[in-house]
Symmetry: C2
Subunit: 149 residues, 2 copies
DNA sequence: TACCGTTAGTTGGATTTCCAAACCAACCTC
DNA sequence: GAGGTTGGTTTGGAAATCCAACTAACGGTA
């Protein structure tokens, strides 16, 4: 078995796992949509940013639409698939807040009045997802594993 | 303003954003804890895996404990902080399943009986987190932005 | 028309990272 | 004691990244 494990996490990371990709998405969520602004806020070299934007557009995470012709200039917006990555960013941000920062650089207040603390739950029953509450079903031969803990 | 945006997502990615880091964590969650096994399942070069494991241990995401002395051999397990990244992986996996794969390589069955579809909700009220339901509060000067969409 | 500034890249060259294969020490099995 | 296993480290070359400077296409102004 020399091939790596078939896995949607790996597939997802092939799309948004390169350096700066998620930070680009973060900026786009913040409403920052132009090349120079994204470059500055993300801190990415311009050539790398060009590559990332193209990759994300090709993967259907962002779409570029002209905001000016003459000169032709594009802005970048999230697609529906891109918008669905918001949960990943929120979860990641919460983890960073919790484990890596003295006090969070940004706090979101939810409409319910509380400072947002995101939780990942089962959409069906709304319950938290404990490791023991999951049973894995493998759709590919030979990749069962010890636990899911 | 030449500095990039202060942000917990960026901080988090500095810890788990390098190539293979999240896949290593995935393996560890699957119960795969030894160097050779992780290397094979992740598909990472051995020297890179060495670097990643050391980094993750130094960051407090993994801990290495000896499973044999003579010869001294370590295995890698998630710390509490590491375990709290499960939500990130589940959310990422769901996104990959949804947008990148014909049929998911792995399906989790939740204890409620349904095939797991993770949702990111507000821990306080349990409600879904629509973009409009959030108000950003900036704890750092000069980093307000257009929207949170 | 000449000159300046803005925007969105592109280019060239140094640096860093990545990778595959080989190597190694310390065991264990036969 | 020959061969295999485990958990790495070393090596040399390929690829990606970084950074500064450059370009192209405009728009403003004077």
């Amino acid at each position: 078995m020399a091939t790596p494990r078939p896995c949607s996490i790996a597939d997802a990371l092939a799309v948004i796992g390169e350096k700066y990709s998620l930070l680009v998405l973060r900026e786009v969520f913040w409403g920052v949509r132009r090349f120079n602004d994204i470059a500055r806020n993300v801190g990415a070299p311009r050539d790398v940013l060009t590559a990332r934007l193209n990759h994300l557009v090709a993967a259907g995470v962002l779409e570029k639409t002209p905001y000016s012709r003459r000169p032709l200039r594009y802005e970048y917006r999230p697609t529906e698939a891109g918008r669905e990555l918001r949960g990943v960013l929120l979860t990641l941000m919460a983890w960073g807040d919790r484990h890596l920062s003295e006090r969070p650089p940004v706090v979101f207040e939810h409409s319910c009045g509380a400072d947002l603390e995101p939780a990942v739950v089962c959409r069906c029953c709304g319950g938290e997802i404990a490791p023991e509450s999951l049973t894995a079903r493998f759709e590919v031969e030979g990749w069962g594993a010890a636990g899911a803990g």
